[in-house]
């Protein structure tokens, strides 16, 4: 555990001393929330839905842009190669990285909540907010696995474009696609859409959680399997 905290500390210090990384992971989601808030409907329900999308989006951004891209940029660095000569298991390094991601996710959720509740006056109770936090963090599991899998698979040069595009596709795919025709079926398979449905259960009791749980569960299993395969392949070369 002590070593996991050591790894967490190194990752955390690297992030907080890197201004561009701080901006894009911690400032960008609340900024986007502020910039787009005037386009939401006037109904409380619409505001809450948009708020939920941005809570989940902030987690997704940390998982993909910081974790996924970070893995991709760092995996072949001399420092990473050196760390693999140290007497510690891969799981220690992975848990340290995950703890770092989780910590930044919590900071992100907090800043989004401050902006949403205090500046945009979104009517959310403490119970609802707690539920949103829990679902957002649980939804981070497939996102973290997706970020790490793609991070290990992508090369450092292409990772920035891949993760930026994927981040935006998942964001807009969760609420911008029409709920009719072929798009309806596409939308059902988008993890962020199912994640949003799961989050909204607390304000829309008629939403079924079966389909979101199955979808996110399948994504978790698939990306856990792919991550294990890709990481092992990388170690053999």
């Amino acid at each position: 555990m002590r070593l996991v905290l050591s790894y967490f500390k190194i990752y955390f210090l690297t992030t907080i001393r890197n201004t561009p990384a701080l901006f894009f992971t911690l400032i960008f989601p609340p900024l986007l929330l502020l910039m787009t808030s005037h386009q939401w409907g006037t109904k409380d329900q619409d505001k809450i839905e948009a708020f939920v999308v941005f809570l989940n989006y902030s987690i997704q951004t940390v998982s993909l842009m910081l974790l996924g891209m970070g893995v991709s940029q760092e995996k072949n660095s001399e420092w990473s190669k050196y760390k693999r000569t140290l007497p510690t298991s891969v799981s220690t390094m992975v848990f340290g990285r995950m703890l770092h991601t989780l910590f930044l996710c919590v900071i992100n959720l907090t800043t989004i909540s401050i902006v949403g509740i205090l500046i945009l006056s979104i009517p959310v109770s403490l119970v609802q907010l707690s539920y949103f936090f829990v679902v957002a963090l649980l939804g981070a599991i497939p996102m973290v696995l997706m970020g790490m899998t793609l991070g290990y698979a992508a090369n450092p040069e292409s990772s920035r474009s891949i993760f930026t595009l994927l981040n935006l596709l998942l964001l807009f795919g969760s609420f911008s696609l029409p709920a009719s025709g072929i798009f309806y079926f596409i939308k059902q398979g988008i993890p962020t859409y199912q994640w949003m449905l799961l989050s909204l259960k607390v304000v829309e009791p008629e939403i079924s959680v079966i389909s979101p749980l199955i979808c996110l569960g399948v994504y978790t299993v698939v990306f856990a399997f792919l991550f294990q395969k890709i990481y092992s392949r990388g170690q053999k070369t």
Binding site: K9, I10, T14, E78, W79, Y82, T85, L86, P87
Partner: protein, 292 residues
């Protein structure tokens, strides 16, 4: 005495290209071993295998009787990377403390800071250090865990004379206290002074495994160069112990298998020479001969 590190019939291929070819050797306590070879001879691949970063295509590598891939086998191992880049934003002290935390009985951070003279930039960000300072930090990381085997891949590249001296003195001291040092370097005169054993790799195969003197004997032409200043003309082709000779103005260069007898012959013939110099084969010329 059981080997701390063992290579047995190791082969390594990258696709069709063979990098290591039937490499076998053992490493024991207190040895200072230099792994030599021209670029591409397989030195770095061999070191990566010792550290569990590469696996052999066939054959076995064991570290303290275990597979180096198993991280517990690396508890008694310290290494320095060949190329150094430290993460952005992390201070030298934080990196030292981070690596220190991985070992069960490490040296005190303050001791390592003192030995490698890191104090003046301890609070600086490691990524912003000069090349030489980064190198010193990288070497310090190899020793901070107080490991039994230390792998140093070209440790003195980029180091100034003072830092090199500190490193070699510390290596000698560590070896005396029972530590084993395994290193690669291009500075052969340094190896000549410290290495107890040299392994020479050529095309991925061990060509020689012995002491510095063994390497010199095998690789040397056995001819010893003798030079001196001579004012008058002498016909050296009549000398019994002179194999080759050349003259550039007043300086005479002779090659002999038996320098003692050659000198006797010079004295007996009343040759009035001065500034005599006898040059034996050094490791560098032996290395060049072997590499041909």
């Amino acid at each position: 005495m059981s080997a701390w590190l063992r290579f047995e019939g190791v082969h390594k291929f990258y696709g069709q290209k063979q990098v290591l070819n039937d490499v076998s050797f053992s490493v024991h306590k207190s040895e200072i071993i230099a792994l030599l070879g021209v670029n591409g001879a397989g030195k770095t691949t061999a070191i990566k295998m010792m550290l569990g970063q590469e696996i052999p295509t066939s054959g076995t590598v064991s570290l303290f009787g275990m597979n180096p891939k198993i991280y517990t086998s690396r508890n008694k191992v310290g290494a320095t990377p060949q190329n150094v880049d430290f993460p952005e934003g992390i201070k030298v002290r934080e990196i030292l403390e981070f690596v220190h935390g991985h070992y069960t009985s490490p040296h005190a951070v303050s001791f390592i800071v003192e030995v490698f003279e890191l104090g003046s930039f301890l609070e600086d960000r490691a990524s912003r250090l000069s090349g030489g300072q980064k190198r010193r930090l990288a070497i310090a990381l190899a020793f901070i865990g107080n490991p039994d085997i230390i792998f140093l891949d070209e440790p003195t590249t980029g180091l100034d004379v003072g830092a090199r001296k500190i490193l070699w003195e510390f290596i000698k001291k560590e070896s005396k206290s029972g530590k084993t040092i395994f290193l690669t370097t291009h500075y052969l005169e340094e190896i000549e002074q410290v290495a107890s054993r040299v392994i020479f790799l050529q095309h991925g195969h061990i060509k020689i495994d012995g002491t510095v003197d063994d390497i010199k004997k095998i690789a040397s032409s056995a001819l010893i160069k003798v030079s001196f200043i001579l004012e008058n003309e002498v016909n050296f082709s009549e000398f019994n112990f002179c194999e080759n000779y050349a003259r550039v103005e007043e300086k005479v260069f002779l090659e002999t298998f038996e320098p003692d007898n050659l000198l006797r012959e010079l004295v007996q013939k009343n040759i009035n020479f001065k500034n005599l110099a006898i040059e034996r084969e050094n490791l560098e010329s032996a290395f060049l001969n072997l590499s041909k």
